[in-house]
């Protein structure tokens, strides 16, 4: 047990897995000498050497494509893509190569690679350095998508992602990197499983990543009004824990889904659609989504503040479903 920030937890997970398995290597821009744009790989070059912690040129497509070929040839590469916005440049490697290999080669091989990448706003980084694009990847059969919500879940899930035989998109919220907490060494989390972040009885809020913290803040405010909400921290977006969400809905009969990504055609839409189908009989109110408006992430502080979802919007959404 140690008190670690989110980025140190990532660092520890990488380091532990590299100790455990010589096939684990790191590939990315500025990850070796510079230690990564957000410091997640700091110190690993000294510890594991340049043959396992590899600074690449600014060639996202080749980095990701190489990770696929390396994963098919005995390595377990962990790629860092500096901002999730840059994942547009790795789409062929992920969508047409990594996602398909197990299936289209008749399960002769799998592609045990992880692509780590930060999403989210709050840094006034503007339209090309702030997006949450996880829904794109969740839509592609063959990819797994994980979004931890804190240092402990990041530590546990990254180890699971590296050990997993399939390609995993591991999404880190930039606003969470500095947040510290106790991280148990032995915490084990399975991909595809959610966790109950707060028990409640009046409504369920399903969230992932930074939105989990907004949901918990909303829960505290609603508690002052004697409204007791349950918060499900999804942790994995693909596959996602349908069972836990349905169980919670069956208990509270009201559902809000919240994420930082644009609301339209998002992860929330999938969860809502499934629950409106398999959970229809449990619903006592409309299902409400909370997400960013349908616009690029704006730069100016005032604009970005209005753009990003927050606890207030979740409070309002819960009140709406309880009306």
């Amino acid at each position: 047990m140690a008190i670690l920030s989110f980025s140190r937890a990532i660092n520890k997970a990488l380091s532990d897995m590299m100790d455990l398995d010589p096939a684990v290597i790191l590939l990315g821009e500025d990850i070796a000498n510079a230690g990564g744009s957000f410091g997640a790989t700091r110190g690993l070059l000294d510890r594991f050497g340049g043959h396992r912690v590899i600074d690449t040129p600014i060639s996202e497509a080749a980095i990701a494509g190489a990770a696929v070929g390396a994963a098919m040839s005995g390595l377990r590469p962990v790629v860092e893509i500096m901002f999730m916005d840059f994942s547009t440049l790795v789409m062929d490697a992920l969508v047409n190569q990594a996602a398909k290999a197990r299936f289209m080669f008749g399960a002769q091989c799998s592609v045990p690679m992880v692509l780590r990448t930060p999403h989210g706003g709050g840094l006034n980084a503007g339209p090309q350095h702030s997006q949450c694009l996880e829904a794109w990847f969740a839509h592609v059969p063959g990819l797994k998508v994980v979004v931890p919500s804190d240092a402990a879940s990041a530590y546990a899930l990254l180890r699971s992602a590296i050990a997993d035989p399939d390609p995993v998109i591991f999404v880190e919220n930039k606003a969470l990197y500095a947040a510290k907490m106790e991280v148990p060494d032995d915490l084990a989390l399975s991909l595809g499983r959610a966790r109950l972040a707060r028990q409640g009885k009046d409504a369920t809020v399903v969230a992932y990543g930074a939105a989990v913290h907004w949901a918990l803040e909303a829960a505290a405010r609603l508690a002052e009004k004697q409204i007791d909400i349950e918060v499900v921290d999804l942790l994995s977006v693909q596959p996602w824990d349908e069972e836990m969400v349905l169980t919670s809905l069956a208990k509270t009969h009201r559902l809000v889904v919240a994420h930082e990504a644009v609301e339209a055609f998002g992860v929330g839409a999938e969860i809502v659609a499934r629950m409106a189908d398999i959970g229809f009989d449990e619903l006592d109110g409309p299902i409400v989504r909370v997400g960013a408006p349908f616009m690029p992430v704006p730069f100016a502080r005032s604009l970005e503040e209005s753009f990003r979802p927050d606890a207030d919007r979740i409070v309002n959404a819960v009140l709406r479903t309880l009306e």
Partner: protein, 327 residues
């Protein structure tokens, strides 16, 4: 580099001839099966280009890996895929190497180091790059080969891969099969540079090879492969060859000049190797015997594929990804 090995070994050349013929007759058989509707989807034939995969593969062992293209039948068979598994895959059968999920454009066999044909132009370069990285990182005595067409040179990914292979000094042989055509357009109208100039820009040794002469291809790549295996870093080989059929089977090639098409038979790699074998004392009857054996093997594979079961949908659905590993 257009040197042949001297003195030539007729038996070695005969083995290369036999494999080229295996590729040729297999593709000719596929043409018929495709026309009859037994092979679904698209197929892209490499008729006229057989000397490149067969010549290059003669320098590789089972521990070496290759990444192929959409025109990958020759790479697959020359790398040692079973004819039965190959035909069953192209006919969409459960006994296919990929259980009928990939077909012509995705035929693969990990056990022989064939990391897959590829439906995306240029993508194989990055797969081969990564495989070379794995060989180097895990201290294997293996090399990786990226097969790609001249059309792929217009893809940005190809440039990224050349650069990264040079920077990381990877055990990677880049083999450009230059047939002069980028799908339906002449490559001369697609790229503003030469591969030789490009290789020089990336500091990668470059060799131009007559890709219609299997003896030349084999003799040219053998020392290059040995050099890569010893840690010399990547090398580019450009094999000049001809695509006889259309971009895909069914393409009438109305965009091609009749004179160009008329010149193709002379450069046919089987004709070139056949003449050479005759000069070395292998008589026509011997070659006919080889052809009969090849045809017999192909017919047996096709017949087996036809009798094989269709793939099972639920088994395909179970291979999208591994289901949760509970911790």
């Amino acid at each position: 580099m257009t040197k042949r090995k001297a003195p030539p070994d007729p038996m070695e050349l005969l083995a290369l001839y036999r494999m080229m013929l295996m590729v040729r007759r297999s593709e000719e058989r596929l043409m018929g099966l495709f026309a009859d509707g037994d092979v679904p989807g698209f197929i892209h034939l490499g008729i006229g280009q057989e000397a490149v995969p067969v010549g290059v593969m003669s320098g590789l062992g089972p521990q070496d890996t290759i990444a192929s293209t959409h025109r990958g039948h020759g790479h697959a068979l020359a790398k040692g895929l079973s004819l039965e598994g190959f035909f069953a895959e192209l006919l969409g059968k459960d006994t296919g190497l990929c259980r009928g999920r990939g077909g012509s454009m995705h035929v693969a066999d990990m056990s022989t180091g064939m990391l897959g044909a590829n439906g995306i132009v240029g993508a194989g370069l990055s797969i081969a790059l990564g495989s070379a990285l794995a060989h180097k990182t895990l201290n294997r005595d293996s090399i990786s080969v990226a097969f790609f067409g001249d059309g792929a040179l217009a893809e940005g990914l190809a440039h990224e891969c050349l650069n990264m292979a040079a920077l990381l000094k990877l055990p990677l042989l880049f083999v450009c099969e230059n047939n002069g055509w980028s799908e339906f357009s002449p490559t001369s109208r697609q790229i503003a540079f030469t591969l030789e100039g490009l290789s020089q820009a990336y500091g990668i040794p470059y060799h131009s090879v007559d890709g219609n002469d299997v003896e030349v291809v084999a003799a040219s790549v053998a020392p290059l492969i040995a050099g890569i295996r010893q840690g010399g870093g990547p090398i580019v080989v450009e094999c000049h060859t001809n695509r006889v059929r259309g971009h895909f089977e069914g393409d009438a090639q109305k965009y091609r000049d009749a004179d160009e098409l008329a010149r193709l038979p002379e450069a046919d790699p089987l004709r070139v190797a056949g003449k050479r074998l005759a000069d070395l004392g292998i008589n026509a009857a011997h070659l006919e015997q080889v052809a009969a054996e090849v045809d017999e093997a192909i017919e047996a594979a096709v017949s087996l594929a036809r009798q094989s079961d269709l793939p099972v949908f639920s088994a395909a659905a179970a291979d999208v990804y591994t289901v949760e590993q509970v911790l």
